[in-house]
Symmetry: C2
Subunit: 165 residues, 2 copies
């Protein structure tokens, strides 16, 4: 485990985070090129429109390196529901509790903002079993499954966690 004094949480988003996010998301080896593009687009939206973009970020820094990040935000037309859009940990920093730290950081920020629920989507395919386990260990439960949503045989699993209670 990392020593706590090495770790910093950062909410401010810098232009340099475009490449930070691209690099982390690419190097996980877990996302298709179009998905990597969308991850970077969320940073662009945040940089150009600020908090009104609806995209909030939290970065975990270990020393001078960004070890991982999460992107979340309130869902339009809801009173207290948030989406966790993205969570990714640099492969060099995986298995060190960074994902759990990000999950907890998002939850505390959502609660502080008056949010009551966090939703996160993932795939029902076998290779996403570790992702689903990560969310389940982080307090999420699967509330719905949409068959063939992503593609034939690739279901969308909608997880939810109640916060601030």
């Amino acid at each position: 485990m990392l020593k706590l004094h090495q770790i910093t949480l950062r909410d401010e988003v810098f232009v340099s985070d475009r490449e930070v996010v691209r690099s982390i998301v690419e190097r996980t080896g877990f996302f298709r090129p179009d998905e990597v593009g969308i991850a970077v687009e969320l940073v662009d939206e945040r940089l150009s429109r600020g908090a009104t973009s609806g995209y909030h970020f939290v970065f975990v820094e270990v020393g001078n390196a960004v070890a991982g990040y999460a992107c979340y935000g309130p869902i339009a037309c809801t009173s207290a529901s948030y989406d966790l859009y993205w969570i990714a940990v640099d492969p060099r920093f995986q298995r060190q509790g960074i994902g759990r730290l990000l999950n907890e950081a998002v939850e505390s920020r959502v609660a502080a903002g008056g949010g009551e629920r966090i939703y996160v989507d993932t795939s029902g395919r076998p290779q996403y079993a570790p992702t689903r386990a990560f969310y389940e260990h982080g307090g999420f439960r699967c509330e719905a499954r949409l068959a063939d949503f992503y593609a034939a045989g690739d279901d969308r699993m909608i997880y939810v966690k109640a916060v601030g209670r």
Copy 2:
């Protein structure tokens, strides 16, 4: 019922549709101001970014008037899933089959574009019973229900229809 020769379907979006959409959505009496704003934002996105916005429209014109419209589009990171974002009929033209016509127009366009499924969301609240009945009569079935998604006691109902089969 309207005579068929009075009815035209239009896919092109004009700047004037900003006010057309605002007027129709407002006068249904069914949407909150923030929801009306989002309906107009979708038109803006389409006008500024074209088809790459991902927002497609179909308008039903009766003579020189727009009687109703639908907004739909492909869902990012899916192979063949579409969202029906909005469907609204001018109160002056309701109960004349315009909603059904829009529903069928969206379905044929999605099928022609290679889409296999259309999703539409609505609320589980009692006052949305006519909306749910409209979708159910239009071939949608409720695949998932997310408790308290919109607000406490206001569930999100996710409907889906298979197309192009």
